[in-house]
Symmetry: C2
Subunit: 301 residues, 2 copies
């Protein structure tokens, strides 16, 4: 663990999980935290996973690692307030789900000579806020770092070690490529889930209680995704617009091809398509990124 004092700007699911994982593994490390929202600060104080400050300045001034854990759209303001108070030798990082726009934003504000290591831990749940965190969130999950040519190699190395020490696997990647990969594996699936849930919610021929009661047939899996933090997702789509629209364009083409196969009653096309997608599932289980448990892991109900 290359850091002694970690400052968390933002106290949501990711920040609270970082704090809980640190406390469990490295109880000697000092953790300070800040949130713009008084309500969030109160909740965080009550849970007690870090020392909560009422100002950014007090939170960051002695830290050797500052992690920006606010929604992507709030990073600019947060960094602007933190910049004059950063300590010498500090490393700044973040946990944003998009990287190119974050890098542009932060690099125009961060004081010269202070390294910024863009990072994205690929982990999360449908829940948000300080009470949603848990210490094992990053176990076995990936964290992608997208250092630029300006990022000192030493700083990237330290942030890599930091995430590995919390149980994550680390991968370095070009920021633009990260944004494209995530638009396939995360942004497009979420937008599609939001859309489907929106359609079901206002389809007048079927009542809301019918949608809810019979959701176990597939729909409920979409509602998990569509329950994620609205502000976080608003910012993601606006800050990764081009990649999101590219994948959604491909998605629409493909959906039309399948709709047309249904209209033509083209059994062979449908069956072959569904056989192909089934194989992708197996690869994900083999890669340890999901579990093949019965009943979608819900047999305990």
């Amino acid at each position: 663990m290359p850091f002694k004092h970690v400052a968390l700007l933002g106290l949501g699911l990711i920040a609270s999980s970082i704090a809980l994982a640190l406390r469990e593994r490295f109880p000697e490390i000092k953790i300070t935290g800040f949130s713009r929202s008084e309500k969030t600060r109160k909740k965080a104080k009550k849970i007690g996973f870090c020392q909560v400050h009422d100002t950014v300045a007090n939170c960051v001034s002695e830290a050797d690692l500052v992690i920006i854990c606010v929604p992507v759209g709030a990073m600019k303001d947060t960094m602007r307030i933190a910049a004059p108070h950063l300590a010498k030798g500090v490393v700044v990082s973040d946990v944003g789900s998009v990287k190119s726009s974050v890098i542009k934003t932060i690099n125009t504000i961060i004081p010269k000579g202070i390294p910024f290591v863009p990072a994205h831990p690929i982990a999360g749940t449908e829940n948000s806020g300080p009470e949603a965190g848990f210490s094992t969130l990053f176990n076995g999950r990936w964290c992608i770092l997208t250092p630029t040519t300006q990022t000192p190699i030493e700083a990237t190395k330290k942030v890599k070690e930091f995430w590995e020490s919390l149980g994550a696997q680390v991968k370095e990647m070009d920021a633009n490529h990260h944004d494209l990969v995530l638009s396939v594996t995360s942004h497009a699936p979420h937008l599609i889930a939001f859309t489907m849930v929106g359609v079901a919610d206002e389809f007048s021929k079927v009542t809301k209680s019918e949608v809810i009661n019979y959701s176990a047939a597939g729909f409920r899996d979409f509602t998990r995704l569509a329950a994620s933090d609205p502000i976080m997702w608003r910012d993601i789509f606006i800050n990764n617009k081009d990649a999101a629209l590219e994948i959604l364009g491909r998605f629409t083409e493909e959906l039309f091809a399948l709709q047309s196969a249904i209209r033509r009653k083209d059994s062979k096309f449908l069956q072959e398509y569904f056989e192909r997608t089934r194989k992708v599932r197996r690869s994900i289980i083999e890669a340890g990124q999901d579990t093949p448990k019965e009943n979608f892991g819900r047999e305990g109900r």
Copy 2:
């Protein structure tokens, strides 16, 4: 439990789960089963959840309840073979995911005087085959019955009691309405999941291993749905074409509205939309149709 001998035509996930649930709750009931596939019969014999027969005739000839558990597209052939061998006083039912087309098909073949009670237990997993069944699959789940004017009330009552005795909640509904409800809560979500997985699988700018490694960010939830039985789903879309196309049409309109909001960077529209969909999730948890567990019920990994 109003039946003494249950015959299962088809030995997949649903049939094996019915057998296991029956054996656990009513060990005195006789259960016979048949599958067209020798491989499936062998597997079922090995697991031993029912008495496996090599012909439909032997399987059904003494049963007082015959449940057709094959994919919707195979029901016609199955019923045609079973019809001459049905016992006096038997009730025939099914578990198909679409109801109008199944009713049409079965009613043209079933011998006069033998009641057919169309049923659809809304339960399932991504796995298929006789080894995928488990006895608690129907616990707390819904089973929809769609009796027609031709269905004797007494037979419907018995099938209702049957499903309730396996732990399900039973609801009666018009067959056409059932098909519309399920196209919202099941068929459209599945087709969309198949599509998204298909797109990711062949998007050349992102490698397959990247898609798989970073799937925890949302994509993996789609792959669960897209791993369901290809033949079953082929038959569902072909047999519920009109309802599926209606919902997919609405879905496309809505997706275009959201895409356009991203293009215009319309923060307000996106945030309000996502706040609305989040509420639907809460209703599903309150209705007991999912669990609010952290990390999508995967924290045990």
